[in-house]
């Protein structure tokens, strides 16, 4: 059983569907939650964090129903999508007072607050009022409050929004560090390169339902409605194309600038034949890439088609 187990979760807001019959097991490591705006990502995350009661279904954290055991909240860190601050407080006061709500003593809260603030690079500004913080700094502070108590499960809803590239990269490293330390992390975003830089494991949610779940490349392989694209630059593109087109696993070949774009329904078979062919015939290859073996393509093929 996973660390988090969602069983048939459904949530409506009046007549509006939030999520519908979502079942998923989430294990240790980082999972990227993807989906277009309004797909139900935030609803799903709020339910995971025990902040929203589903209309149907249940959430089990380490085998216990989160809505029936508030002690479980101690091992969860939740970073909401929206700004949630007492603007007149200082950054330190904000984190400190939230840590007190876990039952930490004054001394413990002080140490943990400073450690979390240091991780997000706000130590020099921690005694300034939150009002004086930029959007990116507020976002980092929000991130800090979710990790300050060093939870086992971290749920980040759009954590990198509004953050400058330098700190984006540092927070991504921090998330990876948490992963190395055995945490269970769920990161939502609709910025695909951000997710791709953090993890290859995704849950793709759209219109309140889970479209796909697992490794990006594995999911891509399962999408048989779109042949795999392989881009090749060789010394003699025309000759290579004339050989490849004879193979029955190649469905289409086109030329684009200096590249040959090959479409195949069986990528594995293609590579086996292709590698043998170029080795036997001593063909010089300058570039070999799979332009649609990435998150963007998976997202486009799965979500784009349903839009």
């Amino acid at each position: 059983m996973g660390v988090i187990k969602a069983v048939n979760l459904s949530k409506w807001y009046g007549n509006v569907l939030g999520i519908s019959e979502v079942s998923v097991d989430i294990n240790k490591g980082v999972v990227g939650l993807l989906g277009p705006n309004g797909a139900g990502k935030s609803t799903f995350l709020k339910i995971l964090a025990g902040m929203l009661k589903p209309n149907l279904g249940k959430i089990m954290i380490k085998g216990k129903n989160i809505l029936k055991d508030r002690e479980l909240y101690k091992i969860i860190g939740y970073c909401p999508e929206t700004d949630s601050f007492y603007m007149e407080m200082t950054g330190f006061e904000f984190i400190f007072s939230l840590l007190k709500l876990y039952g930490f003593s004054k001394n413990e809260s002080k140490i943990l607050a400073e450690a979390a603030i240091e991780k997000v690079g706000l130590i020099a500004r921690m005694n300034d009022s939150v009002t004086t913080y930029s959007l990116g700094m507020r976002q980092r502070l929000k991130f800090a409050q979710s990790i300050a108590h060093e939870p086992e499960i971290m749920i980040f809803d759009e954590p990198l929004r509004g953050i400058d590239p330098l700190w984006k990269s540092k927070l991504i490293d921090l998330i990876k560090e948490f992963k190395e330390n055995g945490k269970t992390i769920i990161v939502s975003s609709h910025i695909l390169p951000e997710i791709e830089s953090i993890t290859e494991n995704i849950i793709l949610i759209h219109q309140g339902k889970i479209f796909a779940e697992g490794n990006i490349h594995y999911i891509r392989d399962l999408i048989d409605t779109h042949p795999h694209m392989i881009s090749i630059i060789s010394k003699d593109n025309r000759e290579l194309a004339s050989v490849l087109i004879k193979e029955n696993f190649v469905s289409d070949i086109s030329f684009k600038e200096k590249k040959i774009i090959v479409k195949t329904d069986n990528r594995e078979l293609f590579y086996n034949h292709f590698m043998r062919y170029i080795a036997e015939n001593n063909i010089e290859i300058f570039e070999l890439t799979s332009p649609d073996d990435n998150l963007q393509a998976v997202f486009d093929y799965l979500v784009g088609a349903k839009r």
Partner: protein, 281 residues
């Protein structure tokens, strides 16, 4: 920077069963109220009823001033004295102003700051949240009603060497607690209705005032004492008359008013709970 690396935690946080998670909300609230502008001025002003009742208390023990007892009715006995202290218009007005000052923004500010998710992403329950917020107002109200009442009992002992009766002692505890609970729940409920602090402050004051104005108008028309139940001020005074055993100005029992205040407190807290539940879900 791991928790255990600091070696300051005697017990793992996950194993701690802290039943008082609302206390940090109370402490934070107390500090925030103290930081407010005019806070110290208001608190000094709120001591006026106590000061103004210490003087008559002193009069009762000075033989040379005994003639004044005939002029000041409430000095006749302990019941009327403590009734007069707890129901004087200045004290009730101060309690209302203190409720607005300490509690008007307690929940509305959380709505405005979108801070509700931050609370409920932690182990505290909605009951803890309400307990924490309620206790902030309660603490300030009791500081200027229950504590002065008990101080008056002590002053009486010091001046005359006589203890008040057990009945007056219990009444001096029970009455301010119920009134403070009523004002606290009333304030929090209004605070949960809007994220506009100014609106909340005006509404708390206006509804209190309106309940009395409507009572006076209807009472003048239909001359039925039971109409007093719609006035917060009347209920408070009528309840005090029952608790302290003095003559009521109304033709219905003060215990009805007390029961009504307790019922309203319960209803306010229930609605408040539902409001928080709805907002957090």
């Amino acid at each position: 920077m791991g928790i255990r690396r600091y070696k300051i935690f005697d017990k793992d946080i996950n194993d701690r069963k802290n039943k008082l998670l609302w206390v940090p909300i109370l402490i934070r609230g107390i500090k925030d109220v103290f930081k407010k502008r005019f806070g110290k001025l208001l608190f000094s002003f709120s001591l006026l009823p106590l000061i103004s009742f210490i003087v008559p208390l002193y009069i009762t023990v000075r033989p040379e001033l005994k003639y004044m007892l005939r002029r000041i009715k409430f000095l006749a006995n302990d019941s009327s004295f403590f009734y007069a202290f707890f129901t004087n218009n200045l004290l009730i007005f101060i309690l209302l102003i203190l409720s607005i000052f300490t509690g008007a923004e307690l929940i509305s500010r959380d709505f405005k700051s979108n801070a509700i998710p931050l609370y409920f992403a932690r182990p505290i329950t909605k009951i803890d949240y309400i307990k924490g917020k309620l206790s902030i107002i309660l603490l300030y109200l009791l500081s200027f009603s229950l504590i002065p009442g008990l101080l008056l009992i002590i002053f009486k002992l010091l001046f005359s060497g006589q203890l008040v009766s057990f009945h007056i002692f219990i009444a001096s505890i029970l009455y301010p607690i119920i009134v403070a609970l009523f004002f606290s729940s009333y304030t929090l409920l209004i605070s949960s209705l809007s994220n506009n602090e100014k609106f909340v402050k005006i509404a708390i004051f206006f509804i209190y005032l309106l309940s009395d104005i409507v009572f006076r108008i209807i009472h003048n028309i239909i001359k039925n004492s039971y109409i007093g139940l719609i006035s917060i001020r009347v209920n408070i005074k009528n309840f005090a008359s029952a608790v302290f055993g003095t003559q009521s100005n109304f033709n219905f029992s003060g215990w009805y008013s007390g029961a009504f205040l307790v019922l309203l407190t319960g209803i306010f807290i229930y609605i408040l709970y539902k409001r928080i539940d709805r907002v957090s879900n």
